[in-house]
Amino acid sequence: MSLEILKAGVLDTVQDAGRPGYRKWGIGPGGVMDHYASHVANALVGNAAHAALLEMHFPAPHIFFHRDAIVSLTGAEMVPTLQGSEVPLWKPLIVKAGNTLTFQRRNKGARCYLAIRGGVALAPWMGSHSTNLKVNAGGFQGRALRKGDVIPMHDDTFPKGITGAFKVLPWSVNHTAAYGPGDEIFFTPGHEWNWLSERSRRDVVTQSFVIESSSDRMAYHVGHSALIFRKKQELLSSAVCAGTIQALPGGNLLILMADHQTTGGYPRIGHVATAHLPRLAQLNASDRFRLKKISVEESEKMLLSLGRDLRDIHAACCKKLEDYEAIH
């Protein structure tokens, strides 16, 4: 009752919504990079929003299913194929025992999620299945997946009596609003925003930024023209969050992502709107984006609106699955 990694990808980990609550011990929340795609993936298979799933990058793994299962793929477009046939993202799929899932190429986005109905049957660490690579804890043996790993899945009686090949179920989630339009990432000003010179503040909201290749799940390094500070002062370290935009001493920017440290002492020029973290999480090295400054009120409105959308999506997906189950 499991799935098996026939070939490892560049970085495939078990993740969930993270383990908040342990900053006092220096343990960051971690969790998925794209909280929208992972939530929808779970909704499509009828899981709880916070259920554990696989986060994959390209080159992606080859995954063999040892039993039938309802699964879904969301996030980056990496041309997933089952038994050699391309299958869509953002839809529930019924895979059959003996099927192999592969990915052909990366068209768009950085991270793809695979949710399995019932979830993976692994022991959580400190209340979460997220993989903490720094201390090798959580997820699957606290590490990225390797060839030969067999990941146990919870028993799931559905789908029963479905014969033949794999199947794409006939409904999908429209995700376009969550990722576009445009290349703007909204942010709210940080406590040290006004330390930037007027010119630099203008530059931040008018120039485009490029994601550098040193970016990873901990932080994005972003390139841009040098920023000038009119105020310089050593800060005592304090808590930081995913989305915090820090200015490094050399004038470079660092945007903290899911696996960020719990504390930081660099000037915080801003914070990416949580509703736009999924957009940022789907950018690759050398991708460009622009920053747009908004108020905290606007940022809250966007996040609440996204939360309501996800609630509705979740309810609709569960209803569809129930109806499908009732007929079959």
């Binding site: 900053r23 905290v296 809250e300």
Partner: protein, 237 residues
């Protein structure tokens, strides 16, 4: 009390800070606020993080908002932090625990000892006496799981971080940086001047809690020989 600042850390966290210097009095105040907040949780509360002079409350905005009528999540949490500031005393109710930590100050446990001696014009014994001669306050855990930020180091021992961080610092390494002293719980790159190494493990993932030190603890270092270090060594290497 110095002036405080309250500001949003994006749309799901709020920070309250007191001044911008390391002051035990300010730290005790934010510890007391933490204590009060843990007794007054709200729907959506995810985490409370205390640092040197600040406290940060992290929350799930959607859960908070759907729990009750409110103008804004930031406003709600800001008001709660102000309430914690007014309602809490100067110190938290818990008495600080004193933890004694053995440290080997000999080579190869102390790769920066020669540099520290030369830079500060001190004998090895004097460096050790200065480092072990006072108790340190654990102000926060950060950087790595279980990494304690402690202060204050004797002014005669104060040195800045390395200009180029070391690629690999061994688990248990005790470092100094400015007024701070800290311990690397796991192998990591690091820029602090390594003055010694403890055989104790500060982070054990299977334990509850997984960390040896928490904010509010007091720490005293004591010297051990390299022979004692080998006998007590809990690290893999």
């Amino acid at each position: 009390m110095p002036e405080y600042a309250i500001f949003p850390l994006g749309d799901q966290a709020v920070t309250f800070s007191l001044g911008n210097t390391i002051q035990i009095r300010n730290h005790r105040k934010v510890m007391a606020m933490q204590h009060w907040l843990r007794q007054h949780p709200f729907p959506g509360l995810l985490d409370i993080a205390v640092a040197y002079n600040s406290i940060t409350v992290v929350y799930d905005l959607y859960l908070l908002h759907t729990s009750q009528e409110m103008e804004s999540g930031f406003g709600y949490v800001r008001d709660l932090l102000l309430e914690a500031y007014r309602q809490s005393g100067l110190r938290s109710d818990t008495t600080p625990g004193l933890k004694r930590i053995p440290v080997c100050y000999e080579s190869p446990c102390a790769p920066d000892m020669e540099y520290i001696m030369a830079e500060k014009d001190l004998s090895r014994d004097r460096v050790i006496a200065l480092h072990t001669g006072r108790n340190y306050q654990v102000y926060m855990i950060g950087f790595l799981p279980g990494f304690p930020y402690m202060a204050e180091v004797d002014p005669m021992l104060m040195l800045p971080r390395k200009t180029t961080p070391r690629g690999k610092v061994e688990a248990g390494s005790v470092g100094i940086a400015g007024v701070q002293t800290g311990i690397y719980p796991v192998v990591s790159p690091g820029g602090w001047q390594i003055i010694g190494r403890t055989p104790l493990r500060l982070f054990i993932r299977e334990s509850n809690p997984p960390v040896f030190l928490e904010p509010g603890d007091q720490v005293q270092f004591y010297e051990i020989t390299s022979g004692e270090f080998r006998k007590m060594n809990q690290h893999n290497a």
